[in-house]
Amino acid sequence: MVKLSIARARSLTMEMPEKYAELALKNKTRKESKDEATPFPKEKIMRTLTWREFSVYDVKITNETKIEKNILCIDERLAKRAININPIVKKVTLRVIKPHERNVFVNSIMDIIPVAAKVEGKIGEGVTHFLRGMVVFLTGTDEEGRQISEFGSSHGILKEKVAFGMPGTPVSGEIILNIDVVIEKGTGMERRGPLAAHQVCDWILDNIRRELKKLPPHEAIYAQEFKDVRREGRPKVLIVKELGGQGAMHEKIIMPSEPGGVRGGKSIIDLGNVPVILSPNEVRDGGIHSVT
């Protein structure tokens, strides 16, 4: 082959047969195409969600709803007033379970809900305030004392009935606000029964959310920006979540007005169970509420 090495040259002309030149060029282009196989992904930001977390280290049931000095106070009268939301619900009880008091009896756990509120924008974009350090347990029975559950009930000693530290359950140090409801007899196995319980619970949470929205940004213990990103040229992946949509305890509320809320959302049953697309930010921001 041709080998050429030059130390110092002013002007250089090289002549060679055409087939050699072609070969040389071919090798060069092949090298370039190899580089193209792994380009740096072009990231396109679609939406941004600002996430601010506020901490509470105590929850009290008093005569006023407020968040002050990292203590959440809940008005005890909310429990009585909540009954007016839906006539199916006969009684609401509020209870605070501290991390060391988990050795207590709870009724069937219908849902575990974090407290978060939308400050700006709709679900999936804008600003969200999130309350860290506590979660809400919605539990319930009907008037005859039958547990609201469909396939296996989780009533019993709280410590034994919850796998703490999973993605869907609180960690060991979190305070639990237990909202216990009693619904009309026989409605536990109908769609309207559990749904009424969730509506009442959502109304109580709305009162807490109103206070959460007022907290100034500088009091946040943690802030993050979540971005919906599309990466051009990368393999496209779709996540499919198959959720229960059979009625009575098998239902989801899609895209409510508040993160993880009920009000303003549409039931997956009413949507005909057909696939609906959510963005990653919308899922993070509580776009799906379980009525399971």
């Binding site: 069937s108 756990i109 849902d111 575990i112 974090p114 978060a116 559950s149 469909e150 396939f151 296996g152 009930s153 989780s154 034994e160 009935k161 919850v162 796998a163 999973m166 993605p167 869907g168 359950t169 990103v229 599309r230 990466r231 990368r234 393999p235 496209k236 992946v237 779709l238 996540i239 499919v240 979540k241 198959e242 959720l243 229960g244 949509g245 059979q246 305890m249 098998h250 989801k252 899609i254 993160p259 993880g260 997956i268 049953i269 169970n273 057909v274 696939p275 609906v276 697309i277 963005s279 990653p280 919308e282 899922v283 993070r284 509580g286 776009g287 799906i288 509420h289 379980s290 399971t292």
Partner: protein
Amino acid sequence: MGIGPSTKETTLHHMNDPMVEIVRNDRSLDLVGIAVVGSPQDNLEKFYVAKRLGMLAEALGVDGVLIYAEGFGNQHIDFAAHIEELGKRGIPAVGLTFAGNGLVVENEYMEDIIDLDKAGEGMETEIVGQNCVTKKDVIKSIKILKKKMKNKRR
């Protein structure tokens, strides 16, 4: 059969969903979105829904699908139908579910299914949140999906 305490996904689970969090932060993947699909009561409706999902995936032109179902028993009829519709269109899919004592239905496209059973009992344990998707399951499923997508491109 349906959704029991251990397989149900709470509202907190959906917000903390490890599947969404890990896939969105993986720089070698382009997450197009999350398709939320219900599981109807009626058998005919189940296949109706599955067909719509197949068409949606086809229209989006996706290279791979991660699918997971909450609950077990009759929910697996749709689960199998979804994977079949995707398989017919040549879209690689990895499924995650609580298989319990085996799935009630199976088909030729269901090659890669990850069982979410954590207790190892193969039945409903009545402990909230026990048999749900964790980071470990997700990482495993992504690994399999990447391999499948690579094989398909060849």
